[in-house]
Symmetry: C2
Subunit: 413 residues, 2 copies
């Protein structure tokens, strides 16, 4: 008995049957006495088709016009969704981003939300409507249509849930929750009942891929419980929420592997203030997204600086480094593109010793050599050879008993 | 050197090549020193496809949602059009109906325009942009998206031309102008250089089909010259404009045939005040659009009332008449659905005798029997048997020399 925001991605509204199924789910929540807002993405491959239409006319289309074009995909879905609800005898109304004043900045194709006029939606909820809102899109102060970029519909949904002070934001997807690891790589992986925003942020940025990190950041900032669940069944999925005390008993919540990585090492860089800044600001100018950075001193005057980038950014990164290497007196550049990064994530590791040791031992027992290591407060990542990647992931999953529900694992000392 | 509004219909923007061709035309007008506004429809069959998508979910979709859905078609076209212009190095910006505040009433799927915020467009014209506006759509006072119904994009274009005080509204289409008659039926038909709004209104409502009558009414009301021309070549088409003195020298501008008609005759209706009103208000309630009405007295107490409707409305009309016939003491209903209506139109007939006589003689010479006749100030229509229809049209065209330019025809006395 409250307000529920339900988000349906492109695969969940790809055709008439799937739209009907999503509409049925909204009606079920409504009939339980809730006020229901559905947020929908463009149908199936439609966004890709529109991008292809654009490219045929202009390989470098103006971003404003791209937003004008792509926003039609979600608008079509929400009107069809409202028609499906009407056919079920359910009062319903659809809105695009402009109509609910989803105000964003003017950065086309990756705009950020400034505010939402929740009153428009509340008035319709209060008169018994299910409200369907086009995800992914907003409007800037000039009335120009904007889009929110990758994962935009998730962000729309969580932002709406925050604005409406909804009880929960349900993300319907083709997986039934967040798993301790990728079941295709570690078949024993089990679904987590709960996970903290922070852990999910580490998992999202590490390629677990279910939700984009922006929407999780939004959820964390405004305290919106996010329920990731299957669009195909009624089983509970995984609740992303603030940390709760029992979570701390769990050393490691999940383990991931990220491939499509490359590591660049600058050997013998002059170890003086400002050199690292020079290198990374030059990479930023080249629009290269840098993942982890490792710097090690090799002498009083020299250091090695390594960093990882997505494989797609390798060419740009290499070019940027070639331009800057002389200025920082780099003695050589060493590149590896045959690597994988295996990570464990868990809020429990904050207050417990032995997680790193356990991970390294698991890798050693599996005969996996570690190229390099980075850590955050709730994450440990090891770079290993690509060939060893999946073996390493399985070894780590087994060591941390990620094939068992959290309550059945051995408790940390 | 002025402001030109160019309207491109669905077939003129059906694919990337056609959009590029339309964009090229806009650039040509711009390079001649004009400010250019392009109004575009949805691409090709897209509106039909969206309607099919809707019907799959709801055979009777809410009109508000239908407008929400269909308006995306034009929005896609205008953004792609702007991208095509950008690829040619031309500054361009697209707007949907909401962005230019094309304010309409709230009658979804057939809304009427109330006002347009021309300033939004003027600011962009003044900074060297070609402005592309989504046709067919507006927004009501509630921010709900509306559409203008059949011929809506023509209406958008003419309304924009009126609001901008444009020099001309060019309608690009797949015919190269308005002909004295349908060239498929009277091969000698010639293109008219000019035609008055009033004549075009008669021709439009008679099924000449090039432009919808609403847009012509708009043009007449605001004095917008409308240039109907081919999207495939640069030849001048036909200018629809106010009557000019030389037009009056032309007895008959054009001749048309309308098939898909049915005629219902109510025999022996009580000839007393209010009976005709009862019949036609009942038909209006049944949403039947009545074309011509003929009433003839057959005695002091009784009259025959006949009217024509489109074939598609015949079943509804028949049902409505059956419901009302007892109340008006109708002695019998007689229906013909094997008819055609042949009409001649011309402002010249206002001030000249002999047009009707010439038409009837032409039909008699061609052995065509006339079922009934209706006239307006600038039109004479004869109902004939469907089998005689095309023969009748040719006879009339030849009698009025519609195979010659107006200047070469015999002048009326």
């Amino acid at each position: 008995m409250g307000i529920i925001v339900q988000k349906f991605g492109g695969t969940s509204v790809a055709n008439a049957d799937k739209i009907r199924r999503a509409a049925t789910r909204a009606v079920e929540a409504f009939k339980k006495g809730n006020q229901v807002v559905a947020v929908a993405s463009a149908r199936g491959q439609q966004t890709d088709e529109l991008i292809a239409d654009a490219m045929e006319l202009n390989p470098n289309p103006p971003r404003r016009e791209m937003d004008m074009l792509l926003s039609t995909g979600e608008q079509q879905t929400v009107s069809l969704f409202a028609m499906a609800l009407d056919a079920m005898g359910q009062k319903a109304i659809s809105f695009n981003g402009s109509q609910i004043r989803m105000l964003t900045d003017g950065v086309h194709t990756r705009a950020r939300i400034i505010s939402i006029d929740a009153d428009v939606i509340r008035r319709k909820l209060d008169t018994g409507h299910i409200v369907i809102v086009a995800g992914f899109q907003g409007v800037d102060a000039e009335q120009d249509i904007t889009t929110l970029g990758r994962g935009g519909s998730d962000t729309s949904a969580v932002a709406l849930a925050a604005a409406l002070k909804a009880d929960v934001c349900e993300i319907y997807t083709d997986v039934d929750g967040i798993y301790t690891s990728d079941p295709r790589k570690f078949p024993g992986a089990v679904k987590m009942a709960r996970i903290s925003y922070d852990e999910m942020l580490e998992l999202a940025s590490l390629g677990a891929g279910v939700m984009h990190s922006r929407s999780i950041e939004f959820g964390k900032k405004y305290g919106v419980p996010i329920h990731v669940r299957s669009s195909l069944n009624n089983e509970p999925g995984t609740l992303i929420t603030h940390e709760v005390p029992q979570m701390e008993g769990i050393l490691v919540s999940g383990a991931t592997i990220q491939k499509d990585l490359a590591k660049l090492s600058l050997i013998g860089v002059d170890n003086k203030p400002g050199n690292a800044a020079k290198i990374f600001s030059h990479l930023a100018k080249a629009k290269v997204i840098v993942n982890d950075i490792i710097q090690t001193e090799i002498s009083a005057e020299k250091a090695n600086i390594s960093f990882t980038v997505g494989s797609g950014d390798l060419a740009d990164a290499r070019k940027a480094i070639d331009e800057i290497s002389e200025e920082v007196h780099c003695q050589g550049v060493f590149i590896r593109d045959d690597i994988a990064e295996v990570s464990v994530v868990g809020v429990g590791m904050r207050s417990h010793y032995g997680v790193a040791e356990k991970m390294f031992k698991a890798l050693a027992d599996a005969q996996v050599n570690i190229d390099s290591i980075t850590t955050s407060e709730i994450r440990i990542s090891c770079i290993v050879s690509l060939a060893d990647g999946e073996k390493a992931l399985v070894a780590v999953c087994e060591a941390f008993e990620l094939d068992k529900p959290a309550s059945e694992r051995k408790q940390p000392k």
